[in-house]
């Protein structure tokens, strides 16, 4: 019988044990395990994930280990054929608390969830960032995400020119 725990090596050279159940919540690790059935289990290298972030991912997996597998919903247009953005509501209280972290940490977890292919965690982080963007003015978003406004006056002038506005109009 396959061993119940899996070793992985993180980017900062730490070896971390995680249960088979949690490891299999990552499609990336899961397919590595399937590829190496019967072979001696060596620690799986995860060069893109730090131990700090991996611990967060394991926390999330522990909380969600008994969740049913996600079902892909087919989106239907309603009668009025309106565009409906995907729902970004985070309903789980534990999840709400989990995303209450520094932006840097959020981005790291999102990158790890993407690399490890942990669907539920990936969706959660995307929803959270989307919620951070919603209803904010460009200035507020720049401040929140620390972005420089590099749109030059020339850019803006070029845009106007493309629209046929002449100097006399402005």
């Amino acid at each position: 019988m396959a061993s119940e725990s899996i070793s992985v090596t993180t980017s900062d050279d730490q070896t971390i044990q995680l249960s088979r159940k949690h490891a299999q919540m990552s499609q990336t690790i899961n397919s590595m395990l399937e590829d190496s059935v019967g072979a001696d289990q060596e620690a799986i290298p995860l060069p893109n994930v730090s131990s700090e972030v991996l611990k967060k991912v394991i926390d999330w997996c522990t909380h969600h280990e008994n969740d049913p597998a996600p079902v892909e919903k087919v989106k239907k247009l309603n009668k009025k054929r309106e565009y409906k953005a995907k729902n970004s509501t985070i309903s789980d209280e534990w999840d709400k608390n989990f995303v209450n972290a520094e932006l840097r940490v959020i981005v790291d977890i999102l990158l790890a969830a993407n690399y490890l292919d942990v669907k539920g965690l990936f969706e959660l982080m995307c929803k959270h960032i989307a919620n951070e963007l919603k209803g904010k003015t460009p200035d507020q978003i720049r401040e929140r995400f620390g972005i420089q406004d590099d749109l030059t006056e020339e850019d803006k002038a070029a845009m106007r020119k493309a629209w046929g506005a002449t100097k006399n109009d402005s």
Partner: protein, 200 residues
């Protein structure tokens, strides 16, 4: 955010309404190009318009305020300009209104494309019925207003901005297809339009 791969950013954008998406264009050049991602706008724009293929629409631009000037640059495109500064207490600035009428006797149909609604700072688009006052409009989730009575097909489009418009600003171009294109499907038209826009 800087380190995120493009496909991840676009996945995040899937959760956003058209208002937020449009304001992302004003953040920086990088964000502008991400928010301009053709597939995304195609999705948002196409689904934003309750136009049915197979219906004939006659369109005219009407002035919603004495401060608006409508310039006709030919049969296929009209520019709408602001002739004086517009101020609005609620922060949104209605700019364009297009009226449409449905003719059930014809098998032809025309289509209206809002040509690049987000070129400057227009943050929402919606549909409003002709002759319906602003207060009667339903405000939808993408920040536009819409009203449609369904059977007669009276309908219109409003575009809005967070920033007050300045005199002389061109806030949008409205374009509709001519009869030869009438059999072309809407998705093809939209695709051509987006390709054309990418070249600008």
């Amino acid at each position: 955010m800087e380190g995120l791969p493009e496909e991840v950013v676009l996945h995040i954008f899937d959760f956003l309404d058209i208002v937020t998406l449009s304001s992302l264009r004003l953040i920086s050049t990088k964000w502008r190009s991400l928010a301009d991602d053709a597939s995304l706008w195609q999705k948002v724009l196409m689904k934003s318009f309750p136009l049915q293929v197979g219906q004939r629409w006659m369109w005219k631009i009407q002035k919603t305020s004495p401060d608006l000037e409508v310039f006709d640059y030919g049969y296929s495109a009209r520019h709408v300009k602001i002739s004086s500064r517009q101020e609005k207490a609620d922060g949104l600035h209605p700019a364009i209104c297009v009226g449409g009428e449905l003719d059930n006797d014809s098998s032809e149909y025309w289509e209206v494309i809002i040509n690049d609604i987000a070129r400057r700072s227009i943050v929402g688009v919606g549909v409003a019925a002709m002759g319906v006052r602003m207060n009667d409009l339903l405000w939808d989730e993408f920040g536009g207003a819409y009203y449609s009575d369904g059977c007669t097909g009276h309908s219109g489009v409003l575009a809005m901005s967070y920033e007050p418009y300045q005199k002389g600003d061109v806030i949008g171009v409205l374009q509709w297809s001519c009869a030869e294109e009438a059999t072309v499907s809407r998705s093809v038209l939209m695709h051509q339009h987006l390709k054309k826009r990418a070249k600008l």
